[in-house]
Amino acid sequence: MMTPKTLFEKIWESHVVVEPPQSPAVLYVDLHLIHEVTSPQAFSGLRQKGLRVRRPERTYATVDHGVPTLPPPDGRPEGRLAYADEQSRKQIRQLEENCREFGIQLMGLDSPYQGIVHVVGPELGLTQPGMTIVCGDSHTSTHGAFGALAFGIGTSEVEHVLATQCLLQRRPKTCLVYMDGLPGKGVTAKDMILGLIAQIGTGGGTGHVLEYAGPAVRALSMEERMTLCNMSIEAGARAGMVAPDEVTFEYLAGRPFAPQGEAWEKAVAHWRTLPSDEGAVYDKVVTLDVSRLEPMITYGTNPGMGMPIGGRIPDPAEVKDAVQRSTLEKALAYMGLRPGQPLLGHPVDVVFIGSCTNGRLSDLRQAASLLKGRKVASNIRVLVVPGSQQVKRAAEAEGLDRIFKEAGAEWREPGCSMCIAMNGDALEPGQYAVSTSNRNFEGRQGRGGRTFLASPLTAAATAIYGVITDPRTLL
């Protein structure tokens, strides 16, 4: 009898080119995604060494981190010249040049498919079950929602993949994250992942690939599964995965890069063999009872500092370890919050709805469902940034843009925008934001800016009242 294997093991083992004793495995990469910020030095490296891109047809590029999100005044891409600075424009030009020179397909500013790399890959059907997928971006874990092994890499590794289509990797450990029960009203995939990270901490997944399973995960749509896997890295995990099922196949069917006809039937038959076998063993198991979860919000300066929205800020005095205590004190000092304080009713200056975590159509629909017929508070600025041109068009076809604009929110062009604040969309020093993005690190959304991470529902409810609001009061 064959040893039962996990989803991860099946993908890993089918992609090992060689694994000499004492050396890391040479892992073959099926799909390489690149963007303008972490690739330029990799291409310079190729040029210096006189190397070509080994498999240009397995690499796809888009621009997202530094692109302006203000609408084009005259409809032309070059009209989107609200570049934050000359450097950003240069970086994007550099990617265009690199893609031309090395023969890589680019979904650039003039493409109807441009967008955040982790939104674009899935919606084009590039992301498929069983694949190995890498990108010079930590949120590459998003693609694991399809039952792919997908992880972020550094720029040296981007160069390795461009030159050889392979990476040197030590085999990570596996962790089963079993999500039991079903979420209550107003509790979303974002709350599930924030709840998990609050439980296991920002280093809780280090060295592991997380496989999310259980009834709560099976019940999620593909977009919700992407939200879940997206933030695996915020628990320190190498990757996050969900076994493919009918929901996955239905999402992929007919997408531009998905297999068609006979090839589709063959692919689905293969994909059905991927889920972890009965009795497969994981290095670690974590469980989360989703039925007890409430909408979550972060209060500190890493995604592990999260609590139920009705909770109170923890007291550093109750933390025993000295470094941990001073880390929490430092976080609360930065956030301007006191131990024991509730967050409900806390004033907010900006609400940001978007990012590779929550910038897809279903996220925008959720936010719009609360904003419809309402106005955002007068003291607040609300940015809604779709994850891609396709998301933007689909949202506009449903009239979501009108709902946002009539409520007093800004409807922007696709990009990473205020999640990483490289493109000019940034918080002012001292401002508070409720953000649907993935990181509340100091200065992440602008120097001195203070971020509360939450779901699109919580963000929309907060936008309406101008203070942190439990979305369940509006449902």
């Binding site: 972490t38 720029t155 604040a421």
Partner: protein, 196 residues
């Protein structure tokens, strides 16, 4: 890549847990297309006041920190973004090694590929080092990669390093040459995988 063999240096002590790569180098400095010149932006938001002047209360600006090549930090160092700019900025400032109780996976990979050595030590050793070096910032530590040993006044400890990465570090070679030498194996794998 500069080889790493043995290093004796003073230590900059920054005992904060979960220092993310956005603190090591904020995103606004990622607009460069070079690997060099990032040392000036290391820990920029902690190191400089809003008016751009160095903050004299931040440890990197202490006179005794100048010229130090080892950084001692809290648990889970380098979490967050995959930006290799974090390793480039630390090296650009002059660091060759970082001591912590644990490192984020992507950061560790990036560091090793650039000749920056992550030294993971047990929590009790870490506490002792923070206490000792916090009291006397002119003390030095020695890191010997060949034997994987960290020495300080009054003690020593063994630290783990991936044997393959260790060999690359000792010789100062990067991994790409090795991967390129496997062309025949890669081509054979592709032929099998894509034969339908």
């Amino acid at each position: 890549m500069e080889p790493f063999t043995r290093l004796t240096s003073r230590v900059v002590v920054l005992p904060v847990d979960n220092i993310d790569t956005d603190q090591i180098i904020p995103a606004r400095f990622l607009k460069t297309t070079d690997r060099t010149g990032l040392g000036a932006s290391l820990f920029a938001d902690w190191r400089y006041l809003p008016d751009g002047q160095p903050d004299p209360t931040f440890v990197l600006n202490y006179p005794q920190s100048q010229g130090a090549q080892v950084l001692l930090v809290g648990d889970n160092f380098g979490c967050g973004s995959s930006r290799e700019h974090a390793a480039w900025a630390l090296l650009g400032w002059g660091f060759r090694a970082v001591i912590s109780t644990s490192f984020a996976d992507i950061f560790r990979n990036n560091a090793l590929k650039n000749g920056l050595l992550p030294v993971a030590v047990p929590p009790e050793v870490h506490q002792e080092l923070v206490r000792l070096l916090g009291r006397d910032p002119f003390q030095t530590v020695t890191i010997d990669l060949e034997t994987q040993t960290l020495y300080w006044a009054g003690g020593e400890t063994h630290f783990p390093v991936d044997p393959f990465a260790k060999d690359c570090l000792l010789r100062g070679v990067d991994e790409l040459g090795y991967l390129l030498s496997l062309e025949r194996e890669i081509a054979a794998f592709e032929a099998k995988r894509f034969s339908g």
